[in-house]
């Protein structure tokens, strides 16, 4: 039996822990938020340092390829590796980072999002079942709660907590995440919810009679003011549909475009675009991507022409889409209202 002193210590520690639990469950900005800011400041600096040391060693440098050109990229990387074998691994990692930033810039210019780039510096443990990551940008960099986080492949998540120099991102695959989604090229909307597994999400159409095909791509519908989610960001594609048209429990399984286990450079959308970018941000594939006839999305159109000629299908509906998207905004807000 432990001594009296130890028993008192244990009791004190347990009472303190329980106080934390109660304070946290009560919600709001209690004394915990200042403790959180202080702890995150100290730990954040160390995480940033550790991350800088580790990132050239980890497999992260292979992770920036988009799913469509992975094969060609592997060949390219092998060639590069042979040519640059004498160069330091740090150089390779810088290069990969530059490529990720290029991808991010492509997406943000296609959708005309104004972004603040950031790097993922920490990841929550798997046994918490929470899909959250820490990034090295905070309120000092203009980050606010509920801003959208993207990378070169599409939607990553949204800002959950903000500290002065770091923030926590809730990834789209987390069970507490739900996003208003729209089927690309159509007007069908629904809710994409995380399942807690990294490679699948669920999509529930609001209209049970709506047509949905395997391979359809989803983009975000967008909330009012672009928070928590800005419009037009690629989410994922339909892998499987359970239930037939007309059934209430008609759920589609979605594979996210973003590989959440391989995140490195991300962008926080600090200002959403004035107009919904529609489907212009989607990667070109099987003719699902539509191009837009404005100057700023030329980067995206070029990418389309390069990889897939079929992809440049003009959907010709942009003018009418822009009108109808306003009236749909109200619906989207009710769909997004469940998120918080």
């Amino acid at each position: 039996m432990p001594s009296r002193g130890i028993r008192i210590t244990i009791a004190t520690l347990l009472v303190a822990s329980l106080t934390f639990v109660i304070l946290d469950l009560r919600g709001g900005d209690g004394p915990l938020s200042s403790a959180r800011a202080a702890a995150s400041a100290v730990v954040g600096v160390l995480q940033k340092g550790a991350n800088a040391l580790v990132s050239p060693l980890s497999g992260a440098s292979d992770s920036f390829s988009t799913w469509r050109d992975q094969v060609s990229q592997i060949a390219e990387l092998k060639e590069e590796k042979a040519r640059l074998s004498e160069e330091l691994s740090a150089t390779l990692s810088d290069r990969a980072r530059a490529r990720a930033l290029d991808e991010l810039l492509r997406v943000s210019s296609a959708g005309r999002y104004r972004i603040t780039p950031a790097e993922v510096i920490s990841v929550g443990p798997a046994q918490d079942f929470a899909w959250t990551v820490g990034i090295d940008a905070g309120s000092l960099d203009g980050i606010e709660k509920d801003m959208t986080v993207i990378n070169g492949d599409g939607l990553v998540g949204r800002i959950l907590k903000v500290n002065p120099t770091t923030s926590t991102v809730l990834l789209v695959v987390d069970t507490s995440s739900s996003v208003g989604g729209r089927v690309a090229t159509t007007e069908e909307i629904g809710i994409v919810s995380g399942t807690g597994r990294q490679d699948s999400m669920e999509f529930q159409l609001l209209d049970p009679l709506a047509e949905l095909v395997i391979g359809d791509a989803l983009v975000t519908f967008g909330s009012r003011g672009g928070r928590p989610y800005a419009p037009g960001i690629p989410i994922g594609e339909v892998m499987d549909i359970t239930g037939s048209a007309g059934q209430l429990a008609r759920v589609a399984t979605i594979r996210p475009f973003v590989d959440v286990s391989q995140l490195s450079v991300v962008g926080v959308i600090v200002r959403p675009p004035r107009d919904d970018p529609r489907d212009s941000v989607l990667p070109p594939r099987g003719g699902t991507a539509a191009d837009e006839s404005n100057d700023e999305s030329e980067v995206a159109i070029d990418a389309n022409a390069e990889t897939d000629d079929e992809a440049t299908v003009d959907d010709g509906e942009d003018a009418s889409d822009a009108d109808s998207s306003d009236s749909n905004d109200a619906d989207a807000d009710s769909a997004n209202g469940n998120e918080n």
Binding site: L13, R36, Q47
Partner: protein, 170 residues
């Protein structure tokens, strides 16, 4: 002596939390993330006894829950880890067992902590727990805990013998 113990415990925990969130969680290992913080609590409880062990658990849990990437209920990990520090500190003596037995204890503590955290957060209303993944996560965390324990327990033992020799004069 208490100040020196606190400094040793604090720096060990800071290192453990940073390593766990930046390196271990990004290795992409199957199942759980290697739980370096639990192993550190076990190692301190073995080296310095139940009081320091429980304190390490409390501080480590609080740091894990409050620092950046976490969205867990703050205080939950502290409750679990205070338990780990206490039980290990009371039931085991540092000189009694060989290193593999104590490493196994570290692994078991990781498994128990993972299960207890899942149960407690489910009770407190978290909807994140995927129960059919829990057995796999528990088994892998036991394995990773055993490996980490084999490294951390001698290391923490050495450090505390060097830096807090007073605790060994009995």
């Amino acid at each position: 002596m208490i100040i020196r113990q606190l400094v040793v415990i604090g720096s060990l925990l800071l290192a453990a939390v940073v390593l766990q969130t930046t390196v271990l969680s990004r290795l992409g290992l199957p199942g759980a993330t290697p739980d370096l913080v639990v192993v550190t609590v076990v190692a301190v409880a073995l080296a310095l006894g139940p009081g320091p062990g429980a304190l390490t658990g409390f501080l480590g849990g609080a740091l894990l829950d409050i620092a950046t990437p976490s969205d867990a209920i703050v205080g939950l990990a502290s409750i679990v880890l205070v338990g780990v520090g206490l039980v290990v500190g009371v039931s085991l003596d540092r000189d009694e067992f060989n290193i593999w037995v104590t490493s196994l204890v570290a692994g078991a503590a990781c498994g128990a902590a993972a299960l207890a955290t899942a149960l407690l957060s489910a009770v407190l209303g978290s909807e994140r727990i995927i129960w059919d993944v829990v057995p796999g996560v528990t088994l892998t965390t036991v394995l990773y805990g055993l490996i980490l324990g084999r490294v951390m327990i001698p290391l923490v033992g050495l450090l505390s013998r060097r830096l807090v020799p007073e605790a060994y004069q009995d």
